[in-house]
């Protein structure tokens, strides 16, 4: 498993101190606080990292993923969140259907190239899936015109028995709802009461709102009692509702059990029963048989914009056009925080082979494997996204490992590994275009605090890793990337993963043009001294699982 590094977002901790301490990384529950860098945002006003969980999301527009038509939010509700134009989903494979004219009449002699096919094509038109070659003529759906298919298909939907039944129910209840809503607003004190409901749907909705719900305190108690009396009076007047037709028997889909059982008794192939993926795309009760599946209008997608939860500053704002994937406002953490990549280099002891008699098949994976009782170097490469150079200071957080009750296991609960990193701040150059960088003069710079002043950086290759040449310290500085080396020493009884929290603090000059008080020219140069800002964040470094000592001993012996 490759070593990973994730960033901590403080949204899940309750502490309100300026720098929150992240949860101990070895607990499984703390993985929800850590995120990879590309999923994080950064709020400039609050100067804080925000993650996907803490941002507030709001919809900025709806569009059809097929025709990329932006649907105004008013018609979204009217069209039931689906595309109103010619976009349909194949019921068989859920791909997009295309509108296709029928074949021209066969001339009979088989000379196809001589027939000039008209661009519009001939009616009847039908829907055709290019992928699985399903077409709507199999279920008998054809169209006369190639446009406005949704309207033409609406007629089919409307004639389904369920929707007819629903229409009749609405008509039946409408007079009662109208009278009850007319009587209650006369007692209400709110001036903004909508007395006459133009549609039965809104009348039903407002009646539902005024309904008596147990456990919830009554809204407008005075009117409640009076309108309750009215309603009971109305109830007595309401006559029996007779459904037009027995719905359970009429609709074949999702109906009574007997129809389904009969069908299942007579199926010949498994393909006759609709699969789960085919069925749950349907919003209503879905048909059981594959031959009953109908093409669906394509559901709309939404474009969302994200805001910081505390200061309501917009972090992400997409462009209005559906086909553009850019953003008007894009405050992502990768533009503010240095990107850190952790890597475990291949251990140098492999070169001389004297350390252990490693078998060849294990040798290839030694780079990622951590054995108990060993010390491993690792690299951290920091990339600076800012246009100013930064000074980075790393700090490993002490792990407070809880001791368990068992005495023998308590030994294993000690901090199982020790991490040493360069403690003094090191610079990372500013981000600039590739051609602006000078040649690599200090590829192998000597770090300030490396233990061995070995200037030959490449000496690690030929000599083995027994001498501590430059494992800890700044290893390499190239363009805007600085690679530092650290070392982790794993205890003999260690178990689990090598995971530790690391505090990264970096200081940068932000030359905000602070207007000086006096405004005099000679003093302006003084006042424009750029202020140095520090920002720090926590990360968790995961170097991989530890192979316990007994296994490795067994492999050796």
């Amino acid at each position: 498993m490759a070593p990973t590094l994730q960033y901590h977002c403080p949204c899940l901790t309750n502490v309100t101190s300026p720098l929150v301490v992240p949860p101990p990384p070895h607990l499984a529950s703390s993985s929800s606080s850590f995120h990879p860098l590309h999923t994080l945002f950064f709020c400039e006003e609050c100067d804080a990292v925000r993650c996907d969980r803490c941002v507030s999301v709001e919809v900025s527009g709806y569009y059809c993923p097929n025709c990329l038509f932006e649907v105004p939010s008013a018609s979204v509700r009217a069209e039931k969140n689906r595309c109103a134009r010619n976009c349909f989903l194949c019921p068989n494979c859920r791909n997009t259907l295309s509108v296709v004219p029928s074949d021209p009449p066969d001339s009979g002699d088989g000379r196809l190239s001589s027939i000039p096919l008209s661009t519009v094509g001939e009616p009847p038109f039908f829907l055709y899936c290019n992928y699985c070659r399903w077409d709507s003529a199999e279920i008998g759906v054809t169209f006369e015109k190639p446009t406005g298919l949704a309207a033409q298909l609406q007629k089919f939907e409307d004639s389904a028995p369920e929707s007819l039944e629903f229409e009749r129910l609405k008509e039946h209840f409408e007079p009662f709802l109208r009278t009850s809503s007319l009587s209650s607003p006369s007692h209400q004190r709110t001036p903004s009461s909508h007395h006459v409901h133009t549609s039965s749907i809104t009348a039903a909705a407002s009646a539902a709102l005024a309904r008596d719900i147990p456990g919830v305190s009554k809204f407008n108690p005075i009117t409640r009692s009076r309108s309750g009396k009215d309603r009971t009076a109305n109830k007595d007047e309401m006559h029996e509702y007779k459904s037009r037709v027995e719905v359970a028997a009429a609709s074949r889909s999702g109906a009574g059990e007997q129809v389904d059982v009969e069908f299942m008794r007579h199926i010949e192939t498994v393909g006759e029963v609709a699969t789960l993926e085919q069925r749950w795309v349907n919003s209503w009760t879905s048909p059981l048989q594959t031959s009953d599946l109908k093409p669906l209008r394509v559901p709309l997608h939404s474009k969302t914009s994200k805001r910081c939860p505390t200061c309501r500053h917009i972090l992400i704002k997409p462009e209005q056009k559906a086909q553009s994937v850019r953003y008007k406002i894009k405050l992502v953490a990768a533009n503010y925080l240095p990107a850190i990549v952790v890597a475990l280099p291949l251990p140098q002891s492999r070169a001389d082979g004297s350390r252990r008699g490693a078998s060849d098949d294990r040798g290839s994976s030694t780079g990622g494997v951590l054995r108990a009782g060993e010390a491993y170097p690792f690299h951290l490469a920091l990339t600076n996204p800012l246009y100013d150079p930064i000074q980075v200071k790393l700090n490993v957080q002490r792990m407070h490992v809880a001791t368990s009750g068992d005495g023998a296991a308590a030994k294993a609960r000690r901090p199982p590994f020790v991490v040493s990193l360069p403690t003094s701040p090191f610079p990372v150059a500013a981000f600039a275009e590739a051609w602006e960088y000078e040649d690599d003069e200090d590829m192998f710079s000597t770090g300030d605090d490396n233990l061995d002043h070995d200037t030959d950086g490449r000496g690690l290759g030929s000599k083995d890793g027994r001498s501590k040449t430059k494992t800890v310290g700044v290893l390499e500085k190239r363009a805007n990337v600085t690679m530092v080396g650290g070392e982790v020493t794993i205890g003999k009884e260690a178990r689990g993963n090598v995971k530790f929290n690391m505090l990264v603090a970096y200081t940068y000059r932000s030359d905000d043009p602070v207007p000086s008080e006096d405004g005099g020219t000679p003093s302006r140069t003084m006042a424009r001294a750029p202020e140095v800002k520090t920002f720090s964040f926590y990360t968790v470094v995961d170097l991989g699982p530890i192979i316990p000592k007994e296994e490795s001993r067994a492999e050796d012996g």
Binding site: C93, P104, L112, I115, L117, Y128, C132, A137
Partner: protein
């Protein structure tokens, strides 16, 4: 193993680019277009390709059986596909990165979807209008509607390639021996 004797019979109206790897006894019919970087290996037996076929880049057509592999007319072998089937009919489409085993015989007007793998363990002969699709290579039968338009499109495709390919690619001239 006997050495493979190359014998290419390429129709004068066929367009075969220079970068194509041909091996063995291969016959290519009139109007067929073979894009560069295609591979046609007739290792054990011969391969006969009909007219109007389009073999795109990285397509691999291999015959490892002794019997002659016959490919019909107007087929389309898309990029990256691998075909070992001993008999293929007309107007088929083998989509990108599909794989067809040597145990299958394909009829006419079939469509093997993208990345579909048709590898039955025993000999099978696909009827006409069979369609394979989906990641699990489910199959179903096409009704045949729209086949005239698709045939027309295939011809237009071939016409266009015949015009444009020689402008940008070197063609293999003459027959190899």
């Amino acid at each position: 193993m006997a050495p493979i004797r190359d014998k290419f019979t390429i129709h004068s109206k066929a367009i075969v680019c220079q970068d194509v790897e041909l091996k063995g006894d291969i016959t290519i019919g009139s109007g067929t277009i073979v894009h560069p970087k295609a591979t046609i290996f007739a290792i054990a037996g011969a391969i006969v390709i009909g007219s109007g076929c389009i073999i795109e880049e990285s397509a691999i057509i291999v015959n490892r059986r002794k019997e002659i592999m016959r490919i019909g007319d107007d087929n389309l072998f898309e990029i990256g596909c691998r075909v070992e089937s001993p008999a293929i009919g007309n107007f088929n489409t083998i989509s990108t990165r599909a794989r067809v085993h040597h145990t299958v015989r394909i009829g006419s007007y079939c469509v093997i979807g993208a990345a579909c793998v048709v590898v039955p363990t025993e000999e099978e002969s696909l009827g006409d209008y069979t369609v394979f699709y989906g990641p699990a290579s489910e199959r179903r039968t096409w009704s045949g509607r729209g086949k005239v338009q698709e045939a027309d499109l295939r011809h237009k495709h071939t016409e266009y390639l015949r015009e444009m390919l020689p402008k940008f690619n070197r063609l293999r001239r003459g027959d190899g021996t």
